[in-house]
Symmetry: C2
Subunit: 452 residues, 2 copies
């Protein structure tokens, strides 16, 4: 059962550590999942964490290490000698985790660790994996998998599986290959259990399988595994030979990270931060977009300053500056966020950009007519200036349409240019729409006050 | 291999349908995964889709039905007779999918279908599952699972598994229970493969397992499975009897939906919409928050109108209205989005609300000093009014601090009151911060212009 880390629970552990009570500490650790131990470490001082860490045995210590936050792990490993890291941690890990952990370290440290790994095959696997970009199938996959030759019968297969399975945490499928190691299909463990012992693999495996090339980007893998409800996905090299497998738990992390990245972008935060981070880290993550917002605000001020006289004569014009700006911003974010989500889930459909823009125009026109109508009625009955009434409602309609079109076009353009379209959802687009919106508003005001 | 649905591909299929060429159509369908067939259906007319649907055989047709979008499926099922739905679709589904599909229909339709299901046990499972809230473990779980009694030996276990496995798509674990059906632990298939045939289950199973109660909310399940890297999670009733299992693919959907919901909220969209939806649906999803934004804009206009004279005398005050409003909005969204993400990932930490507010104050103060400093220098050198220079920078600092504190406090408060804290990230908080920010700005202006 998972244990909830309450304040009392942690204080109890701190007391045990302060008393140097190894026996009680070991007892507590025995009941905890590595992910819980890693979480616990966040709440302890470095000295306290070290005390507990030294009580763990190899495999658990390796699992805890994988679960630690990246920067904590990096700091921790930089001070340990390479041979200890190799024997204590790396040799107890699956190749994908080992490569992830080693990949974060400096080149020299990497070499130092790799040369101390006793199992040459494992070291070779890790070196292979280190060559792949971490955001591709190669960077996500593990080398550990169970393969069966198409010509084996079930007893041979089971015997070979017993040999191979020793190194692997979980087995979901057996991958069937030919003599050239080319991937042919999969054999589910269920099928293996249900088939007659004298069956030949060739006759019972499922050849309708989905595999990806080592260079497939991780977002695409996430969408594939989600769409086809896959638990594991085999990875092949360019000539179709099986080189690894990706498991769903790694992909869940990809999905979460992608979603968090887009969310941070739209909220104007540049790094992965948490409420528990220090004030300084939180400040650094927030200041860049605020600076862009500030520059935008200055540009808007320059635009409005061109209309200083108009404001002096009709100060009521100033009342609706925030309304125009806010509506431009809201509409722009609505439009761009729909595109960003469609790109993220690979769901843009078959409409051309022109069709999308025509639809966006209709939506904006509908919304604009309703909103401009309301503000027209409001001002018509409550304001004494008909020029103001017309200015606010006509510019609101135009601003909504422009903001919707920019909000659609810019992320589509960014995506085509292979930038992250989510950039368009940050303060950048709101600022741009602010400038455009208020320019329209004041020009419209100058014209209409001239007429009425 | 997954097939990419290109425009040409779809046009080819439409041609085949137009020609009534059943043979070619069947050949194409044979190569497609049910998820692809469902996707294809979105691009076809109802008539075309029907033509293809009738060519599918039972199990595939059921899988396609599950993959269809909710409203398409509902429309489709409402026109079919209950006995056909029961025999053709429901009897080919796992209990969780069957309950999801039936749960969307009207009560009478549900009864009509249920009474036509030939397998009483299956009908009973579905009725059980229909009783659970869809956002709990009970609503996510399937009844199909493989159990083994702790007293069995491996050959008995394998024999029983062969019997049970027939109904189940994928087998990841065997759940070990005692004579009262209470869940004791799991036996991985790997362990089963590696153990000696004469072992008794009792001696080889793993009792360190994580299970959840039927009433556990789905977000909590998603966080658990993600944290502990679980592929399947057993569900128990209040007295510990095993009642079902949840698989990771269902939880991936929960994670995606949760992330999308928060993303839509922050972008001011009220429903799950896609770029491919009609203009009318897109309009309906966007107008509610825009109306709130409009009301907010009117309120801001009322606030500013109290300062009409100040603006007439110092029209330069109007230049910085958008800057103050935009910064208040940006800071408010940054602060609230961090809280929303912490709540979503169950990652609020142990800091009290007071500690969080103190930290937020420090972050805002740091950011505020930097930004107010820049705008002070800008106006000091480029504006001729020292009163304006001071007004803009002092109010910017205060506005940033207030916005950060509201942005933290309001989602925490909503969360405590068991509302979705994400409400605080929509146009609501930007509007509130706008009003507060501009009020501070104009009051400050009145005071400082009085002095300088």
């Amino acid at each position: 059962m998972p244990i909830e880390l309450t304040k009392e629970y942690i204080e109890n552990i701190q007391k045990i550590i302060a008393e140097n009570d190894e026996k009680s500490a070991k007892k507590i650790l025995k009941d905890l999942h590595p992910a819980d131990i890693a979480e616990l470490y966040n709440e302890l001082t470095v000295e306290e964490a070290k005390f507990l860490y030294l009580l763990l045995d190899g495999e658990i210590a390796a699992d805890v290490l994988i679960e630690l936050e990246d920067d904590d792990r990096e700091k921790f490993l930089e001070i340990l000698p390479g041979d200890l890291i190799a024997h204590q941690f790396i040799e107890n890990m699956d190749s994908d985790d080992a490569a992830d952990v080693i990949g974060e370290l400096s080149e020299e440290k990497q070499d130092e660790i790799l040369k101390h790994i006793s199992d040459v095959e494992q070291a070779g696997d890790i070196v292979d994996l280190l060559n792949y970009d971490e955001n591709t199938a190669g960077g996500l996959m593990a080398k550990e998998l169970i393969t069966a030759n198409e010509n084996w019968n079930i007893p041979t297969c089971l015997k070979e599986m017993r040999k191979q399975a020793q190194d692997i945490d979980e087995v979901y499928y057996v991958y069937v290959v030919n003599d050239d190691k080319k991937l042919l299909g999969i054999l589910s463990l269920k099928k293996l259990l249900l088939s007659r012992p004298n069956s030949i693999i060739k006759n019972i495996y499922d050849e309708n399988i989905i595999s990806v090339d080592v260079n497939t980007p991780s977002e695409e893998i996430a969408n594939l595994m989600d769409k086809y409800d896959l638990v594991a996905l085999p990875v092949v090299d360019p000539i179709g030979r099986l080189v690894g497998r990706i498991t769903i738990d790694d992909v869940v992390d990809v999905i979460r990270e992608e979603a968090e990245k887009d969310y941070q972008m739209i909220s104007g935060i540049t790094q992965d931060v948490e409420t528990t981070d220090s004030a300084w880290i939180l400040t650094k993550a927030r200041i860049p977009w605020l600076l862009i917002g500030l520059m935008g605000g200055i540009l808007v001020a320059l635009v409005i300053s061109r209309f200083e006289n108009d404001i002096q004569i009709n100060p009521q014009m100033a009342f609706f500056i925030p309304l125009i700006g806010a509506m431009a911003g809201n509409v722009g974010i609505q439009s761009s966020s729909i595109i960003v989500q469609a790109v993220a889930t690979d769901n843009l459909g078959f409409e051309s950009t022109t069709q999308k823009l025509i639809k966006e125009f209709s939506v904006a026109f509908l919304n604009g007519i309703i909103l401009a109508g309301i503000i027209f009625l409001y001002n018509f009955f409550l304001s004494d200036s008909f020029a103001l009434t017309l200015t606010v409602s006509i510019s609101l309609l135009s601003v909504i349409i422009f903001a919707a079109i920019f909000g659609t076009l810019i992320p589509l353009l960014l995506n085509k240019l292979e930038f992250d379209p989510a950039i368009a959802t940050g303060p950048f687009i709101t600022t741009m729409n602010d400038i455009m919106g208020l320019f329209i508003y004041f020009i419209m005001g100058r014209i209409l006050y001239g007429v009425f």
